[in-house]
């Protein structure tokens, strides 16, 4: 299957799966480790990928949340993400996709403007999170947030669906008129 679909399989019992897509292997690995260290009632599975589409030979459980990790220091990272977005089914964007921008701390090294990311997130109606994944403390906090989001997207939190979460996370700041 070249296109990722949200509800293509039955879920495994008490399991939640997250897919991290990004070009920075080391950062993704570190983030995955931080997430697995978190205390969570459900079982967590973290998949890492450089880009989509994923190889179809692997038997994987259904994905509950996709996080696109973009490194603000490299234009290639953004390009890669944009291409991968085309291999994602439209219904995923109802709260099961999230963008994570890293490297905003070192302003001088940023080659991608913040507005680009904001525009991207706004186009795909998905939440945009900022985090310096290189810093241990920020990474741990972000891991906590992602775990919580994942639980909600997998339906393990009674009363809250992914779409509800999306409505709650909707930021009132959209890209300014001149960018549109």
């Amino acid at each position: 299957m070249s296109v990722l679909r949200p509800l293509d399989k039955l879920p495994r019992l008490n399991t939640a799966t997250i897919l991290l897509v990004g070009t920075e292997d080391a950062l993704l690995q570190q983030l995955a480790d931080s997430m697995l260290k978190e205390d969570c009632a459900s079982e967590l599975k973290v998949h890492l990928a450089k880009s989509l589409p994923l190889p179809s030979s692997v038997n994987r459980p259904r994905i509950d949340l996709i996080v696109f990790v973009v490194n603000l220091h490299s234009k290639y990272s953004l390009q890669n993400t944009e291409e991968s977005l085309h291999h994602v089914d439209a219904s995923f964007f109802l709260g099961k996709v999230c963008f994570l921008a890293t490297g905003a701390g070192r302003e001088s090294h940023c080659s991608i403007h913040r507005h680009t990311m904001v525009k991207l997130a706004h186009t795909y109606q998905s939440p945009l999170l900022y985090c310096d994944l290189e810093v241990e403390g920020f990474r741990a906090t972000m891991a906590q947030r992602l775990v919580r989001m994942l639980q909600m997207c997998a339906g393990h939190v009674p009363g809250v669906s992914a779409l509800n979460l999306l409505s709650l996370l909707r930021s009132s700041e959209g890209p300014s008129l001149e960018d549109m």
Binding site: V3, L7, H86, A90, F93, Y124, G159, S167
Partner: protein, 269 residues
């Protein structure tokens, strides 16, 4: 859809447990069947990818549809609870009690440690109090002693003491003077008539000679009466050999300018 995996881990009667377990498992199986049906329906729908151009609009439309659907679902839904059979209630009750016990144990340990601390504080304060009391006692004792000493001072006693001293000294003085007088009388008598005088050559007047004792008395009195001019004129009543004796032994001194005047040497200065 929310999953509710409830497998009660109770250790109550096996009979009751199996019944509730069976019921719960049955309910779970039903839910799973529903899910499988939905899944089948879902797999029939096609996939749809987005381009940058149409993304926002189509997503928003989709969101509207889904939110409406969810809303109607919520409105239809009635709250369900797990069947409250006896052993389920028992298990729940046990859990509650466990929690309560845990909390109470925590409270107990906190109170105990607080008590310990308070006891320690009390002991410390007690020791401090004892020390302070000891200090106060010793200060009191000191105070009393000093008070006693001050009271025993009275003017009359001092006066009496001085009087006695004065009397003693006067007595001593009298004794000394009488001893001196006796000594002088014994060893330095006045010349008597056995010394032959030529009436014609030595125009001796019939002036009475005074004793050495009296001479010394005059000199002493003069020294103490008029300290700035202790000189006494040598009168004829002084027997010249005795004057010489006094002068030669350093008991009396001549006036530096006037040979007729002598004074007593100031032995007391």
């Amino acid at each position: 859809m929310n999953q509710q995996d409830l497998d009660p881990d109770s250790t109550t009667d096996v009979g009751d447990v199996t019944n509730t377990e069976e019921e719960l498992i049955r309910e779970c199986e039903e839910m799973w069947k529903d899910m499988e049906e939905c899944q089948n329906k879902l797999s029939l729908t096609g996939t749809e990818t987005l381009t940058d151009v149409n993304a926002k609009l189509s997503l928003l439309i989709m969101q509207v549809k889904c939110l409406t659907a969810e809303l109607s679902q919520w409105q239809k839904k009635k709250p369900e609870i797990i069947p409250l059979t006896e052993d389920v209630l028992l298990t729940l009750g046990k859990e509650e009690f466990q929690k309560l016990r845990h909390d109470l144990e925590m409270v107990l340990s906190t109170m105990e440690s607080k008590n310990e601390k308070l006891k320690e504080d009390l002991e410390r304060e007690q020791r401090w109090l004892d020390e302070q009391q000891q200090i106060m006692e010793s200060l009191n004792v000191l105070h009393n002693e000093l008070k006693n000493k001050v009271e025993t001072f009275s003017e009359s006693r001092v006066f009496k003491e001085l009087k006695t001293k004065l009397l003693n000294v006067k007595e001593y003085k009298e004794k000394l003077l009488s001893t001196l007088g006796e000594f002088l009388e014994g060893h330095f008598p006045l010349p008597d008539g056995s010394v032959k005088k030529k009436k014609k050559n030595i125009q001796e007047s019939t002036i009475q000679l005074i004793t050495l004792h009296e001479m010394l008395e005059i000199l002493i009195n003069r020294l103490f009466d008029v300290p700035h001019d202790p000189y006494v004129k040598i009168s004829d009543s002084f027997w010249p050999p005795y004057v010489e004796l006094l002068l030669r032994n350093g008991i009396a001194l001549r006036h530096p300018e006037d040979p007729t005047r002598i004074r007593l040497e100031a032995f007391h200065q």
